[in-house]
Symmetry: C2
Subunit: 523 residues, 2 copies
Amino acid sequence: MSNPTPNGAQSLIRTLVDSGVEVCFANPGTSEMHFVAALDDVPGMRAVLGLFEGVATGAADGYARIAGKPACTLLHLGPGLGNGLANLHNARRAHTPMVNIVGDHATYHKRYDAPLESDIDAVAGTVSSWVHRSMTPDAVPTDGARAVAEAMRAPGGVATLILPADVCWLDSTPPAEPITPQPAAIVPDEVIVAAARALQSDGDSVLFLGGRTLDERGQRAAVRIAAATGAKVFGEVFPRIQRRGAGLPVVERLTYLAEFAQMQIGDATSMVLVDAPAPASFFAYPGKPSSLVPEGCAVSTLATGTDDPVAALEALADALGAPEDVALAEASRTEPPTGELTVETVAASLGALMPENAIIVDEAQTSGIFNQGATGGAPAHDWLTLTGGAIGIGVPLSLGAAIAAPDRPVINLQADGSAMYTLQGWWSQAREGANVTTVIYNNSSYAILRMELARVGAEEAGPKALSMLDLHGPDLDFVDLAQGMGVTAERAETAEQFTEALERALAHDGPNVIEAIVPPLGM
Amino acid sequence: MSNPTPNGAQSLIRTLVDSGVEVCFANPGTSEMHFVAALDDVPGMRAVLGLFEGVATGAADGYARIAGKPACTLLHLGPGLGNGLANLHNARRAHTPMVNIVGDHATYHKRYDAPLESDIDAVAGTVSSWVHRSMTPDAVPTDGARAVAEAMRAPGGVATLILPADVCWLDSTPPAEPITPQPAAIVPDEVIVAAARALQSDGDSVLFLGGRTLDERGQRAAVRIAAATGAKVFGEVFPRIQRRGAGLPVVERLTYLAEFAQMQIGDATSMVLVDAPAPASFFAYPGKPSSLVPEGCAVSTLATGTDDPVAALEALADALGAPEDVALAEASRTEPPTGELTVETVAASLGALMPENAIIVDEAQTSGIFNQGATGGAPAHDWLTLTGGAIGIGVPLSLGAAIAAPDRPVINLQADGSAMYTLQGWWSQAREGANVTTVIYNNSSYAILRMELARVGAEEAGPKALSMLDLHGPDLDFVDLAQGMGVTAERAETAEQFTEALERALAHDGPNVIEAIVPPLGM
């Protein structure tokens, strides 16, 4: 340190680095200037600038899903937190460990109710598993260590540390020692036995996986359990991350459309939840049930978020005497498609070309329905989804994933309407040289809302209603938009063009955008 | 109505229209589909789609500042509210009347804690003067009328109505009658007399104007008062709207930099506040005072937000026997500049060309410092500012202002870094044919933060810190970005090019972007 007595900001950053936090996704303002200045005083913290806070929070989510440990954010007071809130909501639903640092006015300045004053604590409370405000510079280092431990406490969460400006600029105490997070609980034997009984009971049974269970170990154990009991296994609709592809166990996810999810679940009379809530419809629809649990089906829980759900699955598989060998996905590739560019031919190109150990960031919405099917036999990969339903996650999540794993290719499958929420992340991808290939499905519509308009029983839509779902007039040009932020981009209008563009993009380091002109699904 | 028994959405929209709400700035999702469908069933409500909620909330603010009555928004659950929060914060600080409609899950669906479930009420409470949740379809019409009245209650505010999906789709009661807002209070005579004494006391006195006082009537009365008492008159740093230019009374605003504001206020021993809080520094700085009220200065209040502050100023002027005739700004024009393009030559072009009755939306930050000086004698115009300090207001505020006043030219003076927060508003400008000329000051930096870094005493910044304030690498190309959203755009690199571009843009209906390549101030 350049300063023998560290200020609050210096001691905090040093504490964060010592606790394993190596990246700060930042969009700072005046009240965070001492934190920014301290980045040069403390080695070990990489700072990544976002041009909008939703980029910073979404990137911190993507980083942690891949790195398995938190990054920190740096946001500017209540409005900065507000701009980052939608992706913090998604992170909350993903149980992503994150240290969310929100700068605030100096402690003594708050009573003047200056223009940027607002109730940060109230807003932060809606997305955080822990909220704390550092009130003295001496408390900051310990508060920082605590924030990391709270972020890492099972199942993981957003730990928000509110940081008044004077607390940063005043002399502080030395950095704090890392605090060991509270370990996940081990599921007791009697719960394992009860789950075994539930899955072996008469009638169909379902093992429902969420949270942290969709890694290789968790899915392997689940498939062993299925082999021993005949239970159906499903993953939640929007998992934080699922490991899949050739050589891996196969776990199907429940579909977004409740009608289809009900068909998947069928007439199950017993359902065992593992790090997941009981399945429910994403939205309510007139005259349709909200719960996806069949009537009369007994629901029990093997492991909750504060347990170690993968260890519980393995213990259950062993208790059942389940076979060690399970069926794994065989390697297979789709054929490179020809002719019209559609969401189906895009999927086939993807299946044909997906590189080894790719990270797929899926915000494709309706355009993505063929992608899982086309890539089940592709080389092993991780699949990240929109956990909280707050659109605008894909571009920043890809940025964060690429920073966590610079040697892995990241492919962002991205709906056009959703992309427009946090498109500023492309600039950060360019600045950081993030190895992200973005496929924009340009169908010039909120296609999912056209479908939803009919599903909610409001199908007799007039011209004003339809105009709210239509992204024509003017057409968005994503090649211009990408180039305006320094990202290489090209447009594809046939399947052949798309396949060639995807080959080029995957062979090229750094960010690339391919704008795929496709008709909306069903049009 | 197409339906003899209106559903909740139809009856709500009809009530809003009957109460004078004519425009809905919307970014809907599934839970708002019945509201969207009802837009075609009820005549009189214009729907303007934003591709991001911050566009919708900022546009509703701009609309109301010009129209003098509320628009409504339509946002999608908690994350949609979050995305709109920064500009709702600005609207709160502007005391903008707005009916902020946030869709939510059906009442019976909330207990399933579906992915988009979150605490909407807590977030809304931080920006709203009134928050209400409609729990039955029969209550919706009255709730809607109440929301308009609460939005219009002096001094104006964000009235948030949370609207569960089933409350919209179920059969409702007929539309509700408009509710008259509670009128602003009349300031009692004794307060007028006390203010007169305070301004006539020994020593220097200051009359400090905020809120709704900076229209023509309020400023005229304030200048009369100054003539009668010798008081200095200042407007707040960031007013919601100020009427100014040739033929209008001249009221100087306090400057953003506290050091200069202190010089403006000088050694005043008496200060009278009119619809404004006592002046305070925007941020705290080490070793500098937060309050801008000189030590020993007596502060009193002529009118608060719930009073009629313009009537109070006029009553005070009359009580003082102040002259009716006051000095007005003379018409004058700057010369069209030549040579290098700088923030100063941009200002001169603006002063030379500003059309009659323009609406200036000022989010120019450091690049704007010459603009007020260059336009004091330009034709009469309104000047709108960033009231709450939450950047990303300019593009949407311009959209809303243009929709409120389609026959007036809107000029958005826009800093580059701030523009990137809500750039999506350009697409809505193009779609609506909004007559907005945007001047982007592209100085490739968060120039204001470079200044602030030094002001907070953190001037020994290293390369990481400086990289957080630097928008190079890659350079943003705002011509590409504008064209990608269907907006005509050109780049200017000399003063002559800029003047010609501004002439072209002002002569051309619909949105136009001019990217002015300028050095950061002081570089």
